[in-house]
C-alpha cells in the first residue's frame, strides 16, 4: 500500500500513478481522511473571505505576482544587494543538487552535525534531508506534520498539511513506536510530547533551515508564514539560519506582501492570518541578545527559469503555495497526495512537476483531471490551471503545429493508434456530409452498438444511440 509505505520515498515512480490511484481509491481510510479534511478546509476558506471583495483581492494578488515576475531579474539583483547590505549571504543554485551542496558546505564550514528544519517545500523538491543524512548530517523536521511524516519515513501528502493522510490513531501508534510516547487519542497529549522532544532538538541544533514565503527586494526581508512557532524557533535559536527558496518568490515592495498574506492564509486554511508572520532582515546585530549570527539565502532555480521563457506557462510561477487547488480538487480528494508521486501533488503539482521532471516522466499528471475548473476558481492568484493542463496535454502529444511544444519530454504520450483515432475523428467531423451519413448509419445499427466500452462500462451502462439523429428529425420537420 503506497499511501503509507515506509520504503524509500525518494524514488517514487511517477508513472505508477494509476496503480497508486487504484489502491488509494480502494482504501476507505485514506478516502475518509482526505474527504473529511478537504470538506473542512473548503468551508473554512469560504467563511474566511466573508465580507471581502474576493475578485478584487484575487486580481490584486495576481497583479502583484505578475508585476514581480515581469521584473524578476531586476528584483533578484535588488534582493541580493539589499540582503547583502543587511548582512545576509545570498547563494544561487541552478538545480536541487547544487542547492543541497550549498547547504552542506555551509554546514561543513561550521562543523555542523545537526540541522533543524522549518517547513519548506523547496527543500522537499531538493530532497535535502536525504542528501544531508547520506553525508552524516542529521536533518530533523520540526513542523509537527513534517515531523510525523519524517517519523513514518514518508513524504508530505499535502503542501500545507503534510500528515493529512493520517488520522489520530495512526499518528499515536507511530509516535509510540518511534519515540516511546504513550498510546493516546488525545491530540493535546501527542502535541505536548512532540513539543518536549523538539525543544531539546532546537537547543542543540547547529543550523536551522527554513523555506521562505515572500522575499522582499525593497527592504531585503525574508517572510515566513506559520502557526506553530517552529519557524521562529528554527530562525532564532540555532547560531546559523539557512533559508532556501525558489527564485520566483521575490516581490518588489514590502506592501506587496499584504495582499499575498491575506490571500495565502485564508485560501490555505481559512485563517484571517496565521499565528506568526515572521519577517527577517538581518542576522543578530551587535548588542542583540539572540538570533543567529549567520543568515543565508539560497535562491533555487531548478527549472523555474525555463518555465519563465513561455508567456502561458509563466503563470505557473505566480503560485504562492496555499494548497487551495488541492483542497478543492475532486481528484486529489479521492486519491490523496502520495498517489501523484511528486513533491507537489494536486492541480499545482500537475502543472508544475512536468517542468521539473520532464513531460515524459510526468505524462500521466496532466490527464488526471476532469478539467472541472474548481482549482482555477479558487486560486488566489488566478492561475488558469485548467488551461495550463490543456496546454500540457497538447505538449505531451505534440498536438499543435501552430504552437510547437517546448517542455522537456514533450510528445512522450503521443501514441500512433491514438493519434490515428483523432485524425480519423477530425476527418469525419470536419466533413458534414460524412458526419451526417455516419451518424445516421450508426442510429440505424444502434442495436449492434457494443455494450462494453472499456473503462466507461466498468462503472456505467453504455449510452444509447437514438433511433434518429437530431439532424434527421430536423430534416423531417423541413428545416
Amino acid at each position: 500500500m503506497n499511501q503509507s509505505t515506509a520504503e524509500d520515498p525518494h524514488h517514487i515512480d511517477v508513472k505508477e500513478f494509476h496503480s497508486r490511484a487504484r489502491a488509494a481509491i480502494a482504501n476507505p481510510k485514506i478516502r475518509q481522511n482526505f474527504r473529511k479534511a478537504m470538506d473542512g478546509l473548503i468551508t473554512k476558506r469560504k467563511d474566511a473571505f466573508e465580507g471581502w471583495d474576493l475578485e478584487a483581492l484575487r486580481d490584486l494578488g495576481a497583479n502583484v505576482r505578475l508585476r514581480a515576475l515581469a521584473n524578476l531579474p531586476d528584483l533578484l539583483e535588488q534582493l541580493e544587494t539589499k540582503l547583502t547590505a543587511n548582512g545576509i549571504k545570498v547563494h544561487w543554485a541552478i538545480d536541487g543538487d547544487e542547492a543541497c551542496r550549498i547547504v552542506r558546505n555551509i554546514c561543513v564550514a561550521r562543523n555542523a552535525k545537526t540541522v533543524i528544519k522549518g517547513k519548506s517545500m523547496v527543500s522537499e523538491e531538493m530532497e535535502l534531508n536525504h542528501y544531508l543524512e547520506e553525508r552524516g548530517i542529521e536533518a530533523l523536521e520540526s513542523d509537527l506534520g513534517e515531523y510525523i511524516v519524517q517519523l513514518a519515513g514518508e513524504t508530505p501528502s499535502h503542501i500545507i498539511m503534510p500528515a493529512i493522510h493520517k488520522n489520530t490513531g495512526e499518528i499515536s501508534e507511530l509516535m509510540h513506536e518511534k519515540t516511546g510516547t504513550d498510546l493516546s487519542n488525545d491530540v493535546e497529549y501527542l502535541t505536548a510530547s512532540a513539543r518536549l522532544q523538539l525543544r531539546e532538538k532546537f537547543m542543540n541544533a547547529d543550523v536551522g533551515v527554513t523555506g521562505v514565503n515572500f522575499a522582499v527586494a525593497e527592504t531585503g526581508t525574508l517572510c515566513l508564514v506559520e502557526n506553530e512557532g517552529n519557524g521562529r524557533m528554527t530562525t532564532t535559536v540555532p547560531p546559523c539560519h539557512i533559508a532556501v527558496t525558489g527564485i520566483e518568490k521575490v516581490v518588489g515592495n514590502l506592501e506587496d506582501v499584504v495582499p499575498l498574506l491575506a490571500l495565502l492564509t485564508r485560501s490555505a486554511t481559512g485563517q484571517h492570518i496565521t499565528t506568526y508572520f515572521n519577517m527577517i532582515s538581518s542576522p543578530r546585530k551587535p548588542g542583540e541578545l539572540d538570533g543567529p549570527e549567520e543568515v543565508h539565502l539560497v535562491l533555487v532555480d531548478n527549472g523555474r527559469s525555463s518555465i519563465y521563457q513561455d508567456d502561458e506557462l509563466l503563470d505557473t510561477l505566480r503560485c504562492i503555495r496555499c494548497g487551495a487547488c488541492m483542497n478543492h480538487c475532486p481528484v486529489y480528494t479521492r486519491v490523496g497526495g502520495h498517489t501523484y508521486g511528486t513533491t507537489y501533488p494536486g492541480p499545482i503539482g500537475k502543472i508544475l512537476m512536468p517542468h521539473l521532471i520532464g513531460l515524459d516522466e510526468g505524462r500521466h499528471l496532466p490527464t488526471a483531471s476532469s478539467l472541472c475548473g474548481a482549482c482555477g476558481e479558487v486560486c488566489p492568484v488566478k492561475i488558469p490551471i485548467p488551461d495550463l493542463l490543456v496546454r500540457l496535454r497538447q505538449e505531451s502529444v505534440d498536438g499543435d503545429k501552430l504552437n510547437p511544444a517546448k517542455i522537456r519530454g514533450h510528445g512522450a504520450k503521443r501514441g500512433t493508434v491514438e493519434a490515428m483515432i483523432w485524425k480519423g475523428w477530425s476527418w469525419m467531423h470536419a466533413r458534414p456530409g460524412v458526419y451526417r451519413f455516419g451518424t445516421a448509419i450508426a442510429a440505424r445499427l444502434r442495436k449492434l452498438q457494443p455494450r462494453q466500452l472499456g473503462g466507461w462500462t466498468k462503472y456505467r451502462t453504455a449510452p444509447k444511440l437514438a433511433a434518429k439523429t437530431l439532424h434527421e428529425r430536423m430534416k423531417e420537420r423541413g428545416q
Partner: protein, 259 residues
C-alpha cells in the same frame, strides 16, 4: 485572461441552434425540447445542417490541430449576426471561451472571436434574453439538479437552472450536498482514469440519491450520461433528464404536462 463581462443582447428574431454531437446522436429529444421552447418564445430557430461537433473532445485531449480542423468547419455556419444558442455548458464553453485562443494568430481569429461573443448556453438565453415565463402544467414532483462544471465555471450560470425550475409551481427543487463538485465526467478522463472517474460519479450518485428526489436534471448530456449510466448499472433509484426536456414537458399542453 479576465472573464469578459456578459452583456445580454435584446431578444432577437432568429437564433442559430447548435445542437452538439451528444444531443444529435444520443439525446435528440432534449434538442427538440430546446427548439420548441425557443419557438414558443416567438423566435425563429435556424438549425445549420452542416453542424457536427465543436471540437472539444480533441481539444481537451491535446490534439489541437485536429480540434481546429473540426472547429473551423463550424465557423462558417452562422453567417447572420444572430445569437448562437447551445444546449450545453460544455460545448457552449468551448465555443465561447476557447475558440478565440484555439484560432489565435490564424486567419480565423477574428471570426472565432466574433462567434464566441454571440454564443449562449440555452437555459441562460431563455432566462436572461427571452425572459421566459414558465407555467407549470405538471403533477407535483421533486427533483434535484446537477449543474455541469463548465456551465457553472466557464459559463457562470449556476443560478440559471434553479431559477428556471423555481418558476415551476409544482416542482420541489432539492439541493444535493457538495453541489459544486464535479460528477467525474470530463470526456476522455472517464476512460483514461476510470477508477478515479468511477469514484467521483459514485459519490455524485449518492449525493443526488440522498436528496430523496429520485430524479435529477442537468444542463449537460455528458454529466447525464455519466450519472444516469452509473445509477442504472448499479441499480440506484435515480433517473436523469436534460433540463430542457424537463422544462418543455412540464409546460407544454401537447405533452399533457406530465414528466
Amino acid at each position: 485572461m479576465a472573464d469578459p463581462i456578459k452583456i445580454y443582447p435584446p431578444k432577437p428574431s432568429h437564433v442559430y441552434f447548435y445542437a452538439t454531437c451528444l444531443i444529435d446522436m444520443f439525446y435528440p429529444d432534449a434538442g427538440m425540447a430546446g427548439i420548441q421552447l425557443l419557438e414558443r418564445e416567438g423566435i425563429k430557430v435556424i438549425f445549420p445542417e452542416d453542424q457536427t461537433c465543436c471540437g472539444q473532445p480533441a481539444y481537451t485531449s491535446g490534439y489541437h490541430d485536429e480540434a481546429r480542423a473540426v472547429a473551423k468547419a463550424q465557423l462558417n455556419l452562422f453567417p447572420e449576426d444572430w445569437p448562437i444558442v447551445v444546449p450545453s455548458g460544455s460545448c457552449g464553453g468551448m465555443m465561447r471561451k476557447h475558440y478565440p485562443s484555439l484560432f489565435k494568430k490564424t486567419d480565423q481569429e477574428a471570426k472565432a472571436t466574433e462567434i464566441a461573443a454571440r454564443t449562449w448556453e440555452l437555459t441562460d438565453f431563455l432566462l436572461n434574453v427571452c425572459h421566459i415565463k414558465l407555467e407549470d402544467l405538471g403533477e407535483p414532483t421533486t427533483v434535484a439538479m446537477h449543474t455541469s462544471c463548465s456551465a457553472r465555471r466557464e459559463m457562470g450560470i449556476a443560478e440559471v437552472g434553479p431559477r428556471l425550475i423555481g418558476q415551476l409551481q409544482n416542482v420541489n427543487l432539492v439541493e444535493q450536498i457538495r453541489a459544486e463538485e464535479c460528477c467525474g465526467f470530463g470526456g476522455t478522463f472517464t476512460v483514461r482514469h476510470p477508477e478515479i472517474s468511477g469514484a467521483m460519479v459514485s459519490e455524485k450518485v449518492d449525493a443526488l440519491t440522498d436528496t430523496g428526489a429520485g430524479a435529477f436534471v442537468t444542463t449537460d448530456c455528458g454529466c447525464m450520461m455519466n450519472i444516469a449510466g452509473f445509477a442504472e448499472k448499479n441499480n440506484k433509484p435515480l433517473e436523469g433528464q436534460h433540463i430542457l426536456s424537463f422544462l418543455w414537458e412540464r409546460t407544454s399542453p401537447t405533452n399533457g404536462g406530465g414528466s
